[in-house]
């Protein structure tokens, strides 16, 4: 049955209003969803609100979406005027149905920049959209834009309290970081190997948390259980690899400062900073890197033993073993002052593992470890490395581990991965 243009217009106005009212009635809405419902029943609104969940009956989408989509495009083409409230409502409706509609997010960017729209609202809208579309690239991209607006000093006078000329208050940033981590965690749970969610989490650590050591360590411990319950989630394990790499790089950056302090002893982990160090906000923690890496190898062993046949676990093991291997075998080349890992290209490039050792060196460059910037031997670098004898012992232990797996496993895939790992190890020691 064909709906006339006027009927559709009336229906859509009503639905948009219903959505708006639902948010007003319940500010705690935390999830959106589509209700499979092929036909409208009676004269009821297709908007359903149950227990903080907002549902849209599917029958109305084929009217609703083209209409509001068209409306926004006409506005954009300056063929139709829309006031600020209409724009907010229309884009909100659109983005809940299709959050990858970039134009709608861009309209909201303009509203934010003109001071009409509170950027926090977009964080909330994005969070809702992600409950139904946990990968949506445009949502994550817009989210990063909003966060960047929020932490910039001079932007958004209406909504951001200008504390002084100091940088954005630390506690507020901390809260933002925690909230973002939560949003990423939820999205990661809603879709397996959610690359976009985990990449965003990395971005947040780099740009909001500035790779603060305490946060890196906290993240390492708090994602451990999640990783153990998602043994095929490659992105989740890649995140742990990023954390370890960042801890290595941050420790090396700090080591130059710590060099001057003779009170720092050999094997300490997680000390609070000394009183006679400088009073900057930066915490100089001495992290026992080899211990962390060993723990991660143990973690990997445990998972591989208990959950046979998951390639992700074997990939993770390669990365971790490589970090250990790199930490001690290439000195003095490998521990050096690192350029800040802030380029987006750097974060999203995985460690490219290839047989040739020279290519491996280049791969580390991709991740930001720059071979051409050497640091001289320092007390710290000595402490962090293992002797060459220990390193070949490490490889030998790995071979024994592989033997043990191959002799006891009944899983075909597990055997295949173990053999591939063995081949890779052989190329490593060439």
């Amino acid at each position: 049955m064909a709906e006339s243009t006027e009927e559709v217009a009336v229906l859509v106005q009503r639905v948009v209003k219903d959505i708006n009212n639902a948010f007003k009635r319940n500010p705690h809405i935390d999830e959106i969803g589509l209700i499979p419902c092929p036909e409208a029943r009676y004269n009821r609104s297709p908007i359903v609100l149950v227990e903080n969940k907002l549902g849209v009956e599917s029958w109305c989408v084929k009217f609703l979406l083209p209409y509001v989509h068209n409306k926004l495009l006409l506005y954009r083409q300056r063929k139709q005027r829309l006031n600020k409230d209409e724009l907010i409502d229309v884009t909100c409706t659109l983005l809940l149905l299709n959050p990858d509609f970039t134009t709608a997010w861009n309209v909201r960017k303009e509203l934010i920049l003109s001071g009409t729209l509170n950027p926090i609202k977009d964080l909330h809208l994005g969070k809702l959209a992600l409950t139904k579309f946990p990968k949506s690239p445009e949502t994550w991209i817009h989210r990063r834009w909003v966060l960047q607006q929020l932490i910039q000093e001079n932007s958004l006078p209406t909504f951001v309290k200008k504390e002084s000329l100091a940088t954005f208050p630390m506690e507020r940033v901390q809260r933002l970081v925690q909230e973002e981590i939560e949003v990423c965690g939820e999205a990661a749970g809603r879709y397996p190997s959610n690359y976009n969610a985990w990449s965003h989490r990395i971005w947040v650590l780099q740009h909001l948390a500035k790779l603060d050591m305490k946060i890196l360590l906290d993240e390492l411990s708090s994602t451990k259980h999640w990783a153990s319950m998602h043994v095929s989630d490659h992105s989740g394990f890649h995140y742990r690899q990023f954390l370890l790499k960042s801890l290595i790089s941050q420790t090396v950056t700090d080591s130059a400062v710590l060099e001057q302090n003779p009170l720092v002893s050999e094997h300490i982990s997680d000390l609070p900073k000394d009183d006679d160090e400088d009073t900057s906000a930066e915490h100089h923690r001495v992290v026992d890197l080899s211990h962390l890496l060993e723990e991660e190898v143990e973690f990997s062993t445990d998972l591989i033993d208990n959950y046979p046949g998951h390639e992700t676990l074997w990939c993770h093991r390669r990365h971790v073993f490589y970090l250990q291997h790199h930490l001690n075998s290439k000195l003095p080349h490998c521990l050096m002052r690192l350029s800040p890992m802030d380029s987006s290209g750097g974060t999203l490039n995985d460690l490219h593992l290839s047989p040739a050792v020279t290519q491996m060196t280049q791969a580390m460059d991709v991740d930001g470890l720059n071979d051409s910037n050497e640091q001289g031997y320092s007390q710290e670098t000595k402490r962090l490395k293992r002797t060459p004898a220990q390193d070949s012992l490490g490889i030998e232990m790995e071979h024994r581990f592989i033997e043990q797996i191959l002799s006891t496993c009944r899983n075909v895939e597990q055997a295949r991965f173990a053999n591939a790992y063995r081949k890779w190890l052989v190329t490593l020691s060439q």
């Binding site: 749970g189 809603r190 998602h230």
Partner: protein, 164 residues
Amino acid sequence: MKLYSLSVLYKGETKAALLKAAYDVSSFSFFQRSSVQEFMTFTSQLIVERSEKGSRASVKEQEYLCHVYVRNDSLSGVVIADNEYPSRVAFTLLEKVLDEFSKQVDRIDWPVGSPSTINYTALDSYLSRYQNPREADPMMKVQAELDETKIILARKQNSCCEIM
């Protein structure tokens, strides 16, 4: 790594009767939950109907893995899990549940039973405990010798699930 449903059924001559079931659909979006649960009930029955007595199998259906154990006495169990959940633990769970069920519920009630008439309440707590395989079973090894376990890849045709 998730368990979605745990069901006990009786494999009759022509049909499988659901005796008791427990579900955990909390990881699905709110408005999908009831239809997902229906799908799991239906799939569990179908799988038991198409499995031989005295067999174990793991059947892939969409993104789920259905582990089924049909005993020689026709008492059957189905665990629907994701593809990360270790199948060894799933079969340990099924063995355990069916063993306990057969001791608590009279054999005579099986062919004619339904969830409302059967008095067995442990399924929910098993489902919840076994969400984390290691907490539930520290050894995580199947003790008994297994019959041949087959992984059957089901291709979904049209709207109904066609297995084999």
